[in-house]
């Protein structure tokens, strides 16, 4: 397959209304090959609606979706062949066995007949379903059902895999396994993943977009996020606190703010780490340094900030 572009999925100005309520507003999204994108947001932010639109289950009120440069709305059959989708509730036919179900899915996605048994076998191995082939889906535990759901989404080797809250309801071990699987998927497919579990995003995604009330309120790479949150500020405490001006005079320090309990927040210049300088100056001036710790803005802080500010307003 000639790869004309590295962008596997792009959505522009995606909007969806339910009556007067705006579920998703003017959303832009782009996904490169081999990338894992985390879509974060509080419940009801429009994540699932977005995913339904990206997979052609729901028609957008306006906007466009292109999968590997094929317009989803104009040529749905071609575009859908390149998507694997795991909705919030895994779409499983409980009366079928795992093998029967996966074979049915393979046929639906036009996996060639002679390759199908091999594809089913490989996918089962990838999802840890090796011994489950002949079990009825109805008899599987929730964790295994979830895996069958994921298996169904990747069986036909789609370019884009869209997973809506893939780790919900799993035990911690299963969560780790599923995360490892998603990470591995990111190598060969592009993955969009929605969740409201923040560490999950940090653990497996390359990029994160936070949605709130149908809008993207934050978009950055995980690395970028890490950079911004590392050493942005320090929290220091002294037995005999100096004036704030004295602290600001230390090289690398941009600003100093008094906090509760005699603690002081020291905002650093970007790319500077004044920790050592502060320790030295404190010792020289006998300030009695008691505490010095980096103040991290965690993804949780970013998330809370972005998704709460509007509620207050």
């Amino acid at each position: 397959m000639p790869e004309t572009t590295d962008i596997t999925l792009s959505a522009h100005h995606l909007t969806r209304r339910y009556g007067n309520a705006l579920a998703v507003a003017d959303l832009d999204l782009e996904l490169k090959r081999g990338e894992v994108l985390g879509l974060l947001g509080p419940n009801g932010a429009g994540k699932s609606t977005t995913m339904q639109m990206l997979t052609g289950n729901l028609a957008p009120s306006s906007g466009s979706v292109r999968i590997c440069d094929i317009d989803l709305l104009e040529r749905p059959k071609l575009a859908k062949a390149k998507i694997g989708y795991l909705p919030e509730t895994p779409p499983l036919y409980r009366e079928l066995t795992v093998d029967e179900f996966l074979t049915f899915c393979g046929r639906l996605h036009r996996v060639p007949r002679d390759e199908l048994p091999q594809a089913v076998k490989q996918t089962k191995a990838r999802c840890g379903l090796n011994d489950m082939g002949r079990r009825l889906i109805a008899h599987l535990s929730k964790g295994y059902q979830q895996r069958v759901g994921i298996a169904q989404a990747i069986l036909h080797r789609p370019d884009v895999v869209i997973l809506d809250e893939p780790t919900v309801g799993l035990d911690p071990n299963q969560i780790r396994e599923i995360r490892a699987l998603i990470r591995e998927l990111g190598g060969s497919h592009s993955v969009i993943l929605s969740t409201h579990i923040l560490p999950e995003v940090e653990a497996i995604c390359d990029r994160v977009q936070i949605m709130h009330r149908g809008k993207i309120v934050f978009a950055d790479s995980i690395d970028g996020l890490r950079r911004t949150r590392q050493m942005e500020s320090l929290v220091v405490g002294f037995m005999r606190p100096p004036t704030l001006e004295a602290l600001t005079a230390i090289p690398g320090v941009k600003d100093a703010q008094a906090m509760v309990n005699n603690l002081i927040r020291v905002v650093c210049h970007p790319d500077a780490n004044p920790a050592e300088a502060i320790t030295r100056t404190a010792a020289e001036n006998n300030w009695g340094l008691t505490q010095l710790s980096p103040e991290r803005t965690s993804l949780e802080d970013v998330f809370a900030q972005l998704t709460r500010q509007e509620d207050v307003a």
Binding site: N57, L58, A79, K80, P87, E100, R110
Partner: protein, 247 residues
């Protein structure tokens, strides 16, 4: 692709006891009708033979069995169609089909064909029962053929209507009862008027089956039943699309 979905539907039907129960109960009731008609024919044989133009055994036994089968299936088909879309929507498995690279036409026809395979099986049992009369003497194959064709077309109409109503609601029981009500109403529509040329009579499903039941294949009846099925299949497709547009 239609065959893939049809085959899956057909197998899923047999995974639940419902299909077996329906087939079994139908068979018991029809066998009773069959034997009742047969013994009635045997008992009255001397008198029947004195008539100027005596009815044959096929006419008395098979036509009754087919007529009864039509009414039984009118009750059974809604139970079979109710799950096709309602349950899929309720269990949210419809997403699997909607996300796959297949058109709504293929989804609807797949489900329809799958159900028709099952109904053809039920029809086969009725047919075999009538054919068993051939063990005792010559029978009117033409009459049985007309009845079979009529019943098959009628079942297509039942199934299409049931499928459409199933696509309207998430509740299987509502779908079943609504389909049953609609079919029954269409069945008895001709009873509402005495005038045989009234448009209501023309709409009645029973009226269009009666000809087949007497051994008469009328193209108007064939066309009516085919159009009836096609109309509701198209409406089902539109309904699926409407869900995509409206959510």
């Amino acid at each position: 692709m239609i065959a893939v979905i049809a085959w899956k539907e057909f197998r899923s039907l047999f995974a639940s006891p419902l299909a077996w129960v329906i087939l079994a109960i139908m068979q018991v009731i029809l066998a009773w009708v069959f034997l009742y008609q047969l013994s009635g024919y045997m008992d009255n044989l001397p008198r029947i033979q004195q008539l100027a133009n005596p009815p044959g055994i096929t006419e008395i036994v098979s036509s009754a069995v087919f007529g009864f089968a039509a009414i039984l299936l009118l009750m059974a088909v809604p139970l079979l169609t109710m799950r096709l879309f309602s349950e899929e929507r309720r269990n949210q498995t419809l997403t699997l089909l909607l996300s796959a690279p297949i058109s709504n036409l293929e989804i609807v026809l797949g489900k329809f064909v799958g159900l028709m395979l099952f109904l053809a099986l039920a029809l086969g049992l009725v047919l075999l029962m009538s054919a068993s009369l051939a063990l005792g003497g010559p029978i009117d194959w033409g009459l049985i053929g007309a009845n079979s064709l009529g019943l098959l077309l009628l079942l297509g109409a039942f199934a299409a209507l049931g499928l459409f109503i199933s696509s309207l609601t998430q509740h299987a029981v509502i779908a079943a009862f609504a389909s049953f009500g609609a079919l029954l109403l269409l069945w008895i529509l001709n009873g509402m008027t005495q005038d045989p040329n009234h448009p209501l009579v023309y709409l009645s499903l029973m009226k269009h089956f009666e000809g087949f039941n007497r051994g008469l294949i009328d193209t108007a009846d064939v066309a009516y039943l085919l159009l009836f099925a096609a109309t509701f299949l198209i409406l089902t497709m539109r309904q699926l699309d409407a869900k995509r547009l409206q959510g």
